[in-house]
């Protein structure tokens, strides 16, 4: 059967040049895709289907178990290829060109570099763990790990950007990962000292650094959001949380008998102790619930603010992202995950004791895997993918007609070791 019958009557295309040796007869193209007109302000559109992503994640989760985790490099690549390719802006989709092999080798390289110092550090801290040195070294160690983590995440961002292209033009990242890491350490200290009040300015400063060192071809990025803006949007949430924390403290000190609580802590089971324990547990549960609502809200606020602040060359991003849709994504994840966790927990407790140790262990491992992998897949699909899609669908870009003016610029080098460090520390992003 031939497809010819379905086609409009053949109208040979204008012969531009004699075709080279082409055995079959020349035919016109089918319905050519209509050129997408450039508007003032292109919009984002996510074209991927949830099922396809879910399949990638489920298969990936199983393969991670089968390979004892080594498949994660390939899974990350698969997932990014899907997300990038299905992210359309003004009708053109992003391209991710990173490879799993590069990731894997980068990770191996970093392990080879880090292993000797790690072993030394282990022996060293084992030997001098005492007293003041121990206190200092644990605080210092935490700060060190934080700096290394930030360093790694900046390097990982560089890998992601250099392996992202749009309309044939690559993104790049300049700047120093070390400078970024130190900057984020200082801001982290300040944020901790101010109980989080400095967070908006910290975040703004770090985003400014990242965007100022982001390049799309010949264009440079810029972050236009300000800390004050974020502060104004988030202060209500902060006050609410502070009020809740104070309320928690007051409630515990007012209504809970401290002696009974101490006895409960030591395993006593008299009525008073049980009451005190129940009171504290209930109050803590309330705090956890509050935190569970506050976190998505904070995420939504920050994400909206961040998207609105993005500038690249003459392009400016605007968004219609709504808080409630982000919170909804988290809520959905929770509603799906809770039954899974409950069923898995019940399953593990209903295994009879007399089946033998091997069966018990096997059942425990299987249940654990089902639960953890299930929750992980749910989180990837209901939170990560959904938020990505919401964000992409919500954006519009002003000044997009200028996109034809951008020119390639290959002066900035790519990343040689990939995301090795971030992979080794398991701090890689999406």
């Amino acid at each position: 059967m031939t497809a010819l019958a379905l086609l409009p009557p053949p109208a040979p295309p204008p012969p531009i040049r004699p075709a080279r040796v082409v055995p079959p007869p020349i035919r016109p193209a089918r319905v050519a895709p209509p050129p997408i007109p450039l508007r003032h302000g292109a919009t984002g559109c996510f074209t991927g289907r949830m099922q396809a992503f879910r399949r990638i994640m489920l298969r990936g989760a199983l393969l991670r178990v089968a390979t004892l985790g080594i498949y994660r490099f390939w899974l990350t690549t698969e997932s990014r290829r899907f997300l990038w390719a299905n992210t359309e802006i003004g009708g053109d989709s992003l391209e991710y060109s990173g490879t799993a092999r590069g990731h894997f080798l980068g990770c191996l390289m970093v392990i080879a570099l880090l292993a000797p110092p790690y072993a030394l550090l282990w022996v060293f801290t084992g030997a001098v763990e005492f007293g003041a040195v121990a206190q200092l070294s644990s605080v210092g160690g935490l700060a060190f790990l934080g700096v290394v983590g930030q360093y790694a995440s900046y390097r990982a961002r560089r890998y992601r950007l250099t392996h992202t292209a749009f309309r044939g033009i690559h993104f790049r990242q300049s700047g120093s990962a070390l400078a970024y890491a130190l900057r984020s350490l200082l801001w982290a200290v300040l944020t901790a000292l101010t109980l989080g009040l400095a967070y908006p300015w910290a975040r703004a400063s770090l985003e400014r650094y990242k965007l100022a060192h982001t390049h799309y071809g010949s264009w440079q990025g810029k972050f236009a959001g300000s800390g004050t803006q974020l502060f104004a949007r988030g202060i209500g949430l902060w006050l609410l949380l502070m009020a809740a924390a104070v309320g928690f403290g007051v409630a515990v000190s007012e209504f809970v008998d401290p002696d009974a609580l101490r006895r409960a802590g030591r395993g006593a089971s008299d009525d008073e102790a049980a009451l005190a324990a129940a009171q504290v547990m209930l109050l803590s549960l309330g705090m956890v619930l509050l935190a569970g609502i506050a976190y998505p809200l904070l995420r939504a606020i920050v994400m909206r603010w961040w998207l609105e602040g993005l500038r690249i060359g003459p392009l400016a991003v605007a968004t219609t992202l709504r808080k409630r849709s982000i919170v909804g994504a988290y809520l959905r994840c929770f509603l799906y995950a809770a039954p899974l966790v409950i069923v898995a927990s019940i399953a593990i407790f209903t295994v009879p004791d007399d089946v033998g140790e091997l069966v018990m262990t096997g059942a425990g491992v299987v249940t654990y895997l089902v639960m953890v992998l299930g929750v992980w897949v749910l989180h990837q699909t209901t939170v990560k993918l959904r938020i990505w899609r919401l964000a992409v669908d919500s954006i519009s870009i002003a000044g997009f007609e200028a996109i034809t003016k951008v020119r390639a610029d290959s002066r900035l080098p790519g990343s040689a070791v990939g995301e090795g460090l971030a992979d080794a520390l398991l701090t890689g992003g999406i």
Binding site: T2, P24, L63, A66, I70, W74, A115, A134, H170
Partner: protein, 407 residues
């Protein structure tokens, strides 16, 4: 070369979107498929590019689009025309797809991962013990002692909820303490250890004894209570001295670092990591610690023979099933059959010994001394506990005392 599923009449040209990789301009273009090259031209006839199939690759793209470009350049042609795409693939043949994860790749990853894990397991089972055997003697004694001191402070903190937890302190415990010290002293003189032993009885009900790096030995009160002869207690201390003589205290950290290097960074991942962790704790560690225990048993038995004690004391104790293991895991892993094996091994050494050890009186302590030693944890401490709340609770077990003797 042509795929059988392709339509009989294959297109050789069609419309696509072209990006030149130099500017952000998007162009509608016509692609013409030649035998060896694909020529791309603008609607007005301007030639945009001519790409040889051998130099091309396909890149990540959404469903329904074929994204083609030079393997080493940024220019791209995006083909949404399915027939053109099919015709291109037929012409180009096997074409690189950098970054694509195909079923074959997955199979390969699984295969290589299993091979890597198997090789790491082999190294952990045979290479690592051999390496530890050579490395442990190289660790300076001072380092081990410092290391031991750091662990000791943590163990003491978990053993003793208050400072009166060590038995035989104060004037009331003097006689008991003297008997204990005499027993330890006799063993130590004969043992020839790399550093001085500091042994103590601690107020814990478990039937256990532990040794730490750097020469620390803690005997639990439960062991003292359960021991029927001085030799049974001596055998436990001799066993722990075996650990000290073999420097098991430094072998353990070397083993931990080695295992981390082998398994940690690559598979430190939630799903796979959990499986690896279980496998390691069920297969590697028990077999390794069994070997160390056997070595300490041998040392302990020989030491008992040297000091003229009953070399079978430990075997008797084991066979009475008197010892309680440190945790559920340990009960699972070192069950009674293993105790029987150990007892048999001790018996084998004891059979060759000149001293029979079956005389009613012990060569190690007099009956009076033994009676005093049995009382070591009965004597109250000289000063009362500071607050009633931190009073000792004998029934509670403490995590952290996992370096148990039964390991």
């Amino acid at each position: 070369m042509m795929d059988a599923s392709l339509p009989a009449v294959t297109v050789t040209s069609g419309q696509a979107i072209f990006f030149d990789g130099v500017t952000g301009v998007r162009r509608t273009a016509t692609a013409e498929l030649g035998l060896t090259t694909m020529e791309i031209s603008a609607p007005d006839g301007e030639a945009l590019a001519a790409w040889r199939y051998g130099e091309l690759a396909t890149y990540s793209a959404p469903d329904g689009m074929l994204r083609v470009g030079p393997a080493t350049g940024p220019a791209r042609l995006e083909i949404r025309d399915r027939e053109l795409a099919a015709a291109f693939m037929a012409r180009a043949g096997r074409i690189p797809q950098p970054g694509a994860v195909e079923p074959r790749t997955r199979l390969k990853v699984v295969g290589w991962s299993l091979a890597a894990v198997a090789s790491a397991l082999l190294v952990a089972m045979f290479g690592l013990p051999a390496m530890i055997e050579r490395m442990a003697p190289l660790v300076p004694l001072g380092v081990e002692q410092q290391f031991g001191a750091s662990i000791d402070s943590r163990v003491r903190a978990s053993l003793a909820r208050d400072q009166h937890d060590e038995c035989g302190q104060g004037p009331n415990g003097q006689a008991s303490r003297a008997a204990f010290d005499k027993l330890v002293g006799r063993l130590e003189t004969a043992a020839g250890l790399p550093f001085p032993v500091r042994a103590a009885v601690v107020r814990r009900t478990a039937i256990n004894a532990i040794s730490l790096p750097g020469g620390r030995i803690y005997v639990y009160a439960g062991y003292v209570n359960k021991a029927e002869t001085p030799d049974e207690l001596a055998a436990a201390i001799a066993h722990e001295m075996g650990h000290i003589a073999h420097r098991d205290g430094v072998r353990r950290p070397i083993q931990a670092v080695g295992l981390w290097l082998l398994f940690g960074p690559l598979i430190g991942d939630f799903g796979g990591g959990a499986v690896a962790w279980v496998a390691m704790h069920r297969m590697l560690l028990p077999s390794y610690s069994r070997e160390r225990e056997a070595a300490a048993d041998t040392f302990g038995t020989e030491l008992m023979i040297k000091v003229g004690g009953d070399p079978r004391a430990d075997a008797n104790f084991l066979l009475r099933g008197a010892r309680t293991a440190g945790s559920t895991w340990k009960i699972l892993l070192s069950d009674h059959p293993q105790d029987r094996e150990r007892a048999a091994a001790i018996e084998a050494i004891a059979r060759a010994a000149p001293n029979r050890g079956d005389s009613a009186a012990s060569a190690l302590l007099t009956a009076t001394e033994w009676a005093a030693l049995k009382q070591i944890c009965q004597a109250p401490a000289s000063t009362p506990p500071a607050t009633p709340e931190v009073q000792h609770q004998p029934s509670r077990d403490v995590a952290g005392a996992e370096t148990a003797r039964a390991e």
